[in-house]
């Protein structure tokens, strides 16, 4: 039987990879995928805690975070399309309008 520490460690590693991806990548679409990676990493630890405690509420929380992730992906991709229409690229280095 696997102890819960391994699941949480896996979740931490995946979250870190996602965070590094957000900092490294310049492509807005890949940036969104890295955010999805981080959300999924947190979902693993939620499901692990839920199963190990024998409590169904973690599963519900994962369902809600899944729907929030879907909404976020829809709005984010619409933003990317609007960005592409204005600058003809999805490079986030072009987004300097509100930079001081």
């Amino acid at each position: 039987m696997i102890s819960i520490e391994w699941y949480i460690a896996l979740s931490a590693v995946l979250f870190t990879i996602g965070a590094i991806g957000v900092m490294v990548r310049r492509n807005a679409i890949v940036l969104f995928m890295c955010i999805e990676l981080m959300l999924n990493a947190v979902n693993i630890s939620l499901v692990a805690f839920s199963s190990y405690h024998g409590n169904v509420e973690g599963h519900m929380l994962v369902l809600f975070s899944l729907s929030v992730a879907a909404a976020e992906a829809v709005v984010g991709l619409a933003l990317i399309i609007a960005l592409f229409r204005n600058t003809l690229s999805v490079d986030i280095r072009n987004l300097t309008l509100m930079r001081f």
């Binding site: 931490a12 709005v75 609007a82 999805v90």
Partner: protein, 188 residues
């Protein structure tokens, strides 16, 4: 047996997430991401969360990633060249911050070493559709409705954002906008 499945799935999950982050082509990144989400569904099955595993495959790997791929194909983005070489300083900085983050999480975990729970005997009972639906439509009915409103408003907002507007403020009408000679060429 179970531990081998865990090792295989977790290594695959880590490898595919690295593939997502470090791939030059956005399409390949998205395909790695699909594989990552499928391995996560396998991990959910190991955790006896059958319903969430199916939902993960249908909603994440099926719907959300298809939306991502659709946008990538629509925008026809060129490949990034040398994502590491061009931003070497930034890459090192990001790696340091990531190592710091991981170290902090692992350190805070070490403090919990003795009090983490063992796998509950009820784990198989709570992962079923029956158990989740029982809670979803009683205790969490209100948040469920709020989620429905959130998804509706997200779709409407996405349509508002992505809608094409001319410089003079008029909206594009697809049927009127198509030149008639092109339509005739298409039909003849």
């Amino acid at each position: 047996m179970e531990i081998y499945a865990f090792i295989l799935l977790s290594l695959l999950a880590i490898a595919t997430s690295i593939g997502t982050v470090l791939n030059r082509s956005a399409v390949n990144s998205a395909l790695f991401m699909v594989l990552h989400l499928l391995t996560l569904a396998g991990l959910y099955l190991l955790l006896r969360a059958q319903f969430l595993a199916i939902i993960q495959v249908i909603v994440y790997a099926g719907a959300i990633m298809v939306l991502f791929l659709f946008v990538i194909m629509l925008l026809n983005v060129e490949e990034e060249e040398n994502i590491i070489k061009n931003t070497r300083f930034g890459f090192i900085g990001a790696f340091m911050v990531g190592a710091l983050l991981l170290g902090q999480v692992v350190y805070s975990l070490l403090g919990l070493a003795g009090i983490l729970p063992e796998l509950s005997g009820q784990a198989e009972a709570i992962g079923t559709v029956e158990a989740i639906g029982d809670v979803m439509f009683t205790v969490y009915l209100m948040p469920l409705q709020v989620t429905a409103i959130l998804l509706t408003s997200a779709v409407v907002g996405a349509m508002m954002i992505a809608e094409f507007t001319h410089a003079d403020g008029t909206h594009q009408d697809v049927i009127e906008h198509a030149p008639e000679d092109q339509v005739e060429e298409g039909t003849s």
